[in-house]
């Protein structure tokens, strides 16, 4: 019985925390919209790690991630007036970050196609500790994730690591929910194939 009480208290506090965060977000957005720079800075601070993780997992390069992160927040600042608040602020940021990152990857792919950029491979974006016996599997998985087509990789990241729902991801990418699901499933299957030999 006491365990149940503790558990329900824990759940309640979690829900309250989530609600409070949502309120904070809304309040900050309203203030930032009216020109309060401190409120905008706070929105940046609250969302920086989420956005950094997503972009870094997509690009595997810290410097480029910082540039894209800067682009993302600058675009958010400029377009804040157009944010209606139908979705959560972070969803809107995810949308901006996703499009900036995909554009970067498209550009990079085209440049590499013309061999204009030096072919230095990026550091792997999924650094994993070198546990004995794990490293070979990890290496393969890192490569497999990096080899996913950009939008599939994005869907995989948004779902697997950022824990967004399929409807949210569909909204961010402006795609149908079934398309998003199919792509997630395909990404998982590709990754799973890399583990087959280790079964």
């Amino acid at each position: 019985m006491p365990f149940l009480l503790v558990f329900s208290y824990y759940r309640l506090s979690k829900i309250q925390k989530a609600k409070r965060m949502e309120l904070d977000d809304k309040e900050l957005v309203t203030k930032a919209k009216s020109g309060d720079r401190k409120a905008f800075d706070e929105l940046v601070r609250l969302n920086k790690d989420k956005m950094f993780a997503l972009i870094y997992r997509m690009t595997g390069d810290r410097e480029i991630t910082l540039d894209l992160l800067q682009d993302t927040f600058f675009a958010a600042y400029k377009e804040l007036g157009g944010f209606r608040g139908d979705s959560r602020f972070y969803s809107w940021l995810y949308r901006i970050a996703s499009s900036k990152t995909l554009n970067y990857l498209k550009r990079k792919k085209i440049l590499s196609f013309f061999s204009l950029s030096a072919g230095t491979p990026d550091e792997p974006s999924y650094n994993m500790p070198d546990n004995v016996g794990f490293s070979e599997i990890n290496d393969r998985l890192i490569k497999a994730v990096d080899l996913l087509p950009p939008k599939q990789k994005l869907i995989f990241n948004l779902r697997f690591f950022d824990r967004l729902s399929f409807p949210d991801i569909a909204g961010i990418l402006n795609k149908g929910e079934s398309t998003v699901k199919t792509n997630y499933q395909k990404a998982i299957e590709k990754l799973q194939n890399q583990l087959k030999d280790f079964r």
Binding site: V44, Y77, K109, I110, M128, I137, F161, R163, I188, L195
Partner: protein, 184 residues
């Protein structure tokens, strides 16, 4: 629930794998799906070993200062635009007045003192100075435009194409565009 449905369902739960009662009872009676499930569990574990990447303190302060200066520049640019329109507005009004004066009263135009012309010229010079200032922020919409254009013209219809990587046709198209000097 058949094997295909079950596998699709648990595949979509990757990242937060938990089983419903239906799925549990299917697994109890199906060794093939049990193997599939265990495989997913180990994949999930392997992928979540690493901590989420995050910014260092130094990187964050670098981001803050760069963002700050970019936002300030953006505001300066907007302010310059207003100043510029005010200056040009004043210049235009002066020119109109001059034209008006020369058109309707030739004798009065000849009466304008050299000092007045000088001040008018000074206004023009200041306006030109402002047009030279202001940092140009170059956005890069070309690539999207070209790709969107391609989608419109050649209409890839399947979600696979849109969601997937650039196809050979897209690359070929972009290559031609780039060679023609349309982008980059």
């Amino acid at each position: 629930m058949n094997c295909g449905e079950l596998r699709k369902s648990i595949c979509l739960k990757m990242g937060r794998l938990f089983l419903s009662q239906d799925e549990k009872s299917h697994l109890d009676s199906c060794p093939g799906c049990t193997k599939y499930y265990e495989h997913l569990v180990s994949l999930e574990k392997t992928l979540t070993v690493a901590p989420a990447p995050s910014l260092t303190k130094m990187e964050f302060s670098k981001l803050q200062s760069k963002l700050d200066s970019r936002i300030n520049k953006y505001h300066d640019k907007a302010l310059n635009f207003y100043r510029l329109s005010f200056k040009y507005g004043a210049t235009m009004a002066a020119i109109l007045l001059l034209v008006f004066a020369s058109f309707f009263g030739k004798y009065k135009f000849q009466d304008i003192k050299p000092a007045d012309t000088d001040s008018l010229l000074a206004t023009l010079t200041i306006a030109e100075d402002f047009s030279a200032s202001g940092d140009e922020v170059i956005e890069e919409p070309y690539l999207d435009l070209v790709i969107d254009n391609y989608v419109d013209n050649y209409g890839f219809n399947t979600s696979e194409m849109l969601i997937g990587d650039l196809s050979d046709e897209e690359l070929e198209y972009l290559k031609n565009k780039i060679n023609a000097g349309d982008i980059l």
